[in-house]
Symmetry: D2
Subunit: 449 residues, 4 copies
């Protein structure tokens, strides 16, 4: 029935074998046969707080009892309180006043951020990163690097100019991190040296580009963490030419990296910040942007600038509000780095044991494992696919019973496991996860070599 | 707090006075003071089945208990069943095999439909109607008529060519319906007569336009119902030049007009149909498209063509499935036209009494009341705004207690009340609604004349 | 050799039989066999002053002796004097100060005019007429109506919105000129009534369109002369919304219509005027624009705004200067209308005799003959082609010897002879031309019926 | 009069002092006062064969006597013969059959090449070089690097992606030529490694880019000569992904570099070649493209693909034909490199003497002198401007009388003299040129330091 009535145009049919799940709890998904799958990707980081988190479910139920529906042109309390909580938190962190604008789905929030950028700069064109991902609406596809996402959909008149990301394990300029002095950033700065580099009018210092879209840690690109000095130096260049920094935190936001926003690690204040996914723990597509007051005040972004039926829907805002409360009451800032370190320490042991485990790295609980040829460097997509499929087959046996393992594949060469476990994962579950991973790895090596 | 931390860029601040609601039931919203507001717009037709509809709330709760979250690259039963139900229903109605592709928010579904169109036609450009509304992402804004939605956001390279809609109360060609013989359609057909009308290459009969985007009944444009023969004749022209018909049913779908899809009234099979809003009765932004098999089969719309984190989220599909069951078990096809007729009959009495009530019309429970000057024709926006604000003030007294009335304003001149009540509205509630409306009308006339 | 080494991409191979000419004088071309062809199109109006006009040839020779070459970043006297003569003449006619900017080829001048428009309005989009032609660079193709000129060349992001031209013989709205009260113009005005017609923001009266490109008399469209009141009323609408009027006089300029610019007949002052072709009588592609001082002063159109190697080349400006002197010393303003009337009177006799001659009309010496079916209305392209090919075959015998006749075909249905004879054509040559035309017409009728 | 009636939008008013010239001969221009200016730029290489070259003037006069005007839809012999000569010469050089398509002005020919590219590749987007210049129509401006040329003219939907040029004196990657192994080219190749570099779909090896526009030697960019191996390696990458190589020879063609086309030095066959300027020695803007038969055969580039009134005008083709005959009868292939070497040897002496002369280089008679600070590297625009203005002031005295010197400034930092003397310059004139240059240099240094 699925193969007949469902479009195959989404990502379901990437898989060799189609898994159907019918329940979930904490870090686990269950299929019809009751097999338990340890989930190490948590809906690409949308379910940071664990499947069926009881506080968040209760918040939703409470809102259902009260006011589950309301046209977004009228107000409800939860919208206001959530916006205030988010904006106040940013004000504290970034020392910048700003406002929140809600929408549904990360792409729609990205499109709203483009509207803010265009009003401010009068320019359609932006910079974005090679390896960057910002969504699949036509507008978001124009600033997402992969040509495959545009190829069949006509001409994209606002295609971004894509800049190499500081991906040090595979430095685009063949440099070594300890001696490079951020050569990649110097390359970007060089573009502003003369008008003949096609970026700036040296007589006015105005640029053809209105913004630079970044992910603080690249998501789909393979959870690549940039050097600490990169973003601050980038921001300085951008400020010189009035180019806005738009920080897409859809995947890394809400403590995935150990802080509320990934960008907080880098001592940089974005001009616009885009959030989504984990705000509702996957129970409502609520998303949104925060922008500096000068970019989003009623004077410049007046009523009617944008609209969406479900933009600040009551159920989404109620869950989001509870999420913010959970965060405020938590010690995630301590726990997440600690769990991340433990997870990495366990994965590094695999790296030492298997040459195919090429890079292990991460920030908070956004972890990466790069699968390579035996040289530890050449990307190995077949082995990566094999491991993922073995995990999904539900035939692993580590921990003493038939189990499955949910992994997500990313990276420029589709050879990176982007690991994003529940924030409530225990050390025992991490151990189990690594054991299952090793089991799948061994089977995968056997299959592909 | 709202004025400080919330963006004003949505439609909240259109209003003179900001209403905060905190509960809802059936056809009613309630504010902090407990004042009851009869809602005649039901979240622009997103809550067709009444606030806090118990069957739909139960379906959501059941899904929360089972599997509230799941990455959309894996399958859950409700997605498959809902897609099958929708596609099978279309197959029965339209005699066409097709598939369903889900997303969240109407705009994102519109963008997916654009992808389908571009793949098939290789063309970025489309026709759309003056007065048409298809959403506010950048791509959707390009095919939505109002220039205000594009003005501040740079250059739109894929701006649609907008064609006059058959709005007979204000015929764009000053014709009378009984003698016009659809002159407006003849004008459209004329564009294909020579290559010098900028639409077609007469040597190849290929057109510069890949699709025509329509609403079966214009929504934001003011619930304008086209003549019955219009769409069938339009479709014939389009077919001659391989131009797809994309039917946006986001606002009119799910029985608003008395049939599942508005287009069913017009004996036309669309090539792509876009739906959203009422599918979940406002509890989840689930949206989607149906397209003919030739346009969406895996061969032409293969895995990875598009993607969205929340596209077929379990909560949304579970509610949508229950909505389809309610529809199957209902007699909406009988009840809705009947209620619509009753409502119109009551409104027509007002028209006979007040010259300012210029046009009363509708299809099913999509009703329009056009507010005019005393000549019964010149649009009267000040009076329209006054009536709406009086309704929102909650100071009406019809029916013996302090009440409010929720109305939505649309139309090319912002002088049309687009009335979309709950499908479960009773005749008594209709009577109350008309009484409240008349009270507000009288007060509005007193204020503005 | 031609068929092997020459691109066929120009218009040479439209013809059935390829004519090679090797000399010319006055109104005549001669082929290898010495056959004389009376030319009634004069290089689509580029050779208004007759082949091998001795004064203009002498002017060119004098410049060759003096300064045939000079980089356009340096000055030569003829450029300055020609610019002054043109601008002073416009100032006298239009009561507007302005400046001249030269380039080569009509399309390049059109592109310069677009730059002026974009600077002033900040908008890429313009209106242009159905049936209009402004050139074949990519930019000019975007505002030229025929889709065929864009079809194979990708997506055109700045495609004009095309408006029906007041072509009264084939009224797009089926009106009659004597009772229409310019219904077509009222249709255009209507677009500004509400923002939902996709043209204007009613809150600011700003338009999505920066300019309206017109030809005072449509050239390629078939020498269609608009009603006298049309342009003045159009201009009023445009001024209300700050939309510039750009008048393309490339084909009609330099007295083709009996005045220096075709627009002078219509009592309208354009904001920008584009000229080319006849300025050098076909001996140099010199073209240019005039724009009002406010649009082209150094403050808004500063050094380096545009550039072209040959823009104000000495040979072209020297010939252009002599052309202006000839015009000043001539009585073209009297002679051309007189000759035009005589020519039309002769052609009208044909119309009375042959039902296939459907419309005879013109302004000055820009004349049109529309070839139709026997009903005098339905366009007859096969007969039109036959007549043109018979003329080119050089086998006519009117006037007592073997002769040819050069005619150009235009019009929306390619059934219009656009007649543009030399300004020095005599009444005897007109008689000969009409006789040759009648001979070809008779033969053509015999062939195609 | 000039300041009042001429647009300042061209490049005339870049100059401090406006020179008016009134005669020319050989390598010299003369102003009103009879001062002789040695011209070392020859109208940016348009007058390669010397001012008032008698053979070329005679050819033009002969054509004036015969057939100076002819609509381009008819044929004349000179067009055919010139096309054949050009195409046959290319066939001999490149071992490729092809065809010639004429137009007027380099930009219009560039636009024709874009049409050829778009037909073949179905893609609007192209690569071009940083520092590249291809003209100033809107289409050509989109692929010309300087943002200044686009800044005020709205959004450019087909903006090229600009790639660093192999400018070894100022290596964009801080490499040294002897050890770089063309790191810059490796960087370009890298873009095709994964789809995440935004250039290619690795599953189909199809690219988002249809062509790469190059100048064999960068013109406006400062006569920068690339390493010999660069273009052959570039072409290999392009061929792998079906990306066409379009070679813009407008400035370097017709023996400026010592070969008919600059690209001949690099052992690469372009897919399309664009020519202009020197073909008529500055007496007619004739330009054109050559394309491989598969790209321009009548099957793919059929009649009506493009058009321009003056495209193959008789005067231009007659001069062009004589130019080709002169070339055939000349020993330019020997003489030009010899003269170039002598010129360079003299300039290098200046470099050894003045630290401000930073780089001296060239190919054939396309020479560059880069003016720097005392460190011999930092660009020195003020000194460059001073030297140019001193030359134009006509107050130099080298060679024993009051003289002027005509120099053109180019380069990314506007600090490069791009020297392009007449092909008939004598060694004595070279000596004089270098003496005048040294005199101006000394005065300039005195003024600016």
């Amino acid at each position: 029935m699925e193969s007949k009535y469902c479009s195959w145009g989404d990502t379901v049919h990437y898989a060799e074998h189609l898994n159907i799940f019918n329940s979930a709890q904490g870090s686990y998904l269950y299929d019809d046969a009751g097999v338990e799958y340890l989930d190490l990707q948590m809906w690409y980081s949308a379910v940071n707080f664990g499947y069926r988190n009881s506080r968040l479910m209760s918040a939703m139920q409470a809102q259902m009892d009260k006011l589950p529906q309301l046209a977004c042109q009228y107000l409800h309390e939860e919208k206001i309180t959530l916006a205030a909580k988010l904006a106040q938190s940013m004000e504290k962190t970034f020392k910048e006043k700003g406002r929140i604008h809600f929408n549904v789905g990360g792409s729609a929030a990205i499109e709203d951020s483009m509207k803010v950028v265009r009003i401010h700069t009068g320019r359609n064109l932006v910079f974005a990163f090679m390896g960057g991902y910002h969504g699949r609406t036509l507008g978001a596809s124009a600033i997402t690097s992969s040509f495959r996402y545009r190829e069949k959909f006509g001409h994209f008149s606002d295609r971004a100019t894509f800049i190499p990301y500081p991906y040090c394990f595979r430095c685009p300029y063949d440099k070594k991190r300890d001696s490079c002095n951020l050569f990649c950033l110097k390359q970007f700065e060089r573009l502003f040296e003369t008008e003949y580099y096609a970026v700036v009018n040296k007589k006015t210092d105005k640029s053809e580009f209105g913004a630079f879209y970044i992910e603080s840690v690249q998501g789909t690109g393979g959870y690549v963490v940039p050097p600490l000095e990169y973003f601050p130096r980038l921001k300085k260049v951008l400020e010189r030419y009035n180019i806005l920094l738009v920080d897409d935190e859809v995947q890394m936001g809400f403590f995935r990296t150990g802080k509320l926003w990934g960008i907080e690690h880098f001592n940089v204040v974005p001009d616009v910040l885009v959030f989504g996914k984990a705000l509702t723990n996957g129970m409502n597509p609520l998303s949104g942007i925060w922008a500096k007051e000068t970019l989003i005040s009623p004077a410049v972004f007046p009523p009617g600038s944008t609209h969406s039926t479900f933009s600040s829907n009551p159920l989404g805002t109620a869950i989001g509000l509870e999420t913010m409360k959970i965060i405020e009451e938590s010690d995630f800032a301590l726990q997440i780095p600690k769990k991340g370190e433990y997870f990495i320490s366990r994965l590094k042991k695999l790296r030492n044991k298997y040459p195919q485990v090429g890079d292990v790295n991460g920030l908070g609980l956004a972890l990466r494992v790069e699968i390579c040829q035996k040289d530890g460097f050449t990307p190995n997509k077949p082995l990566t696919d094999a491991i993922a499929n073995i995990g999904l087959s539900g035939n692993l046996s580590s921990g003493g019973k038939k189990r499955g393992l949910i992994l997500d594949v990313g990276g420029y060469y589709k050879n990176v496991f982007t690991i994003a476990p529940s924030f409530y994962i225990t050390n025992e579950e991490i151990d189990l996860g690594v054991d299952l991973f090793e089991e799948a790895l061994q089977k995968g090596i056997a299959l592909t070599e």
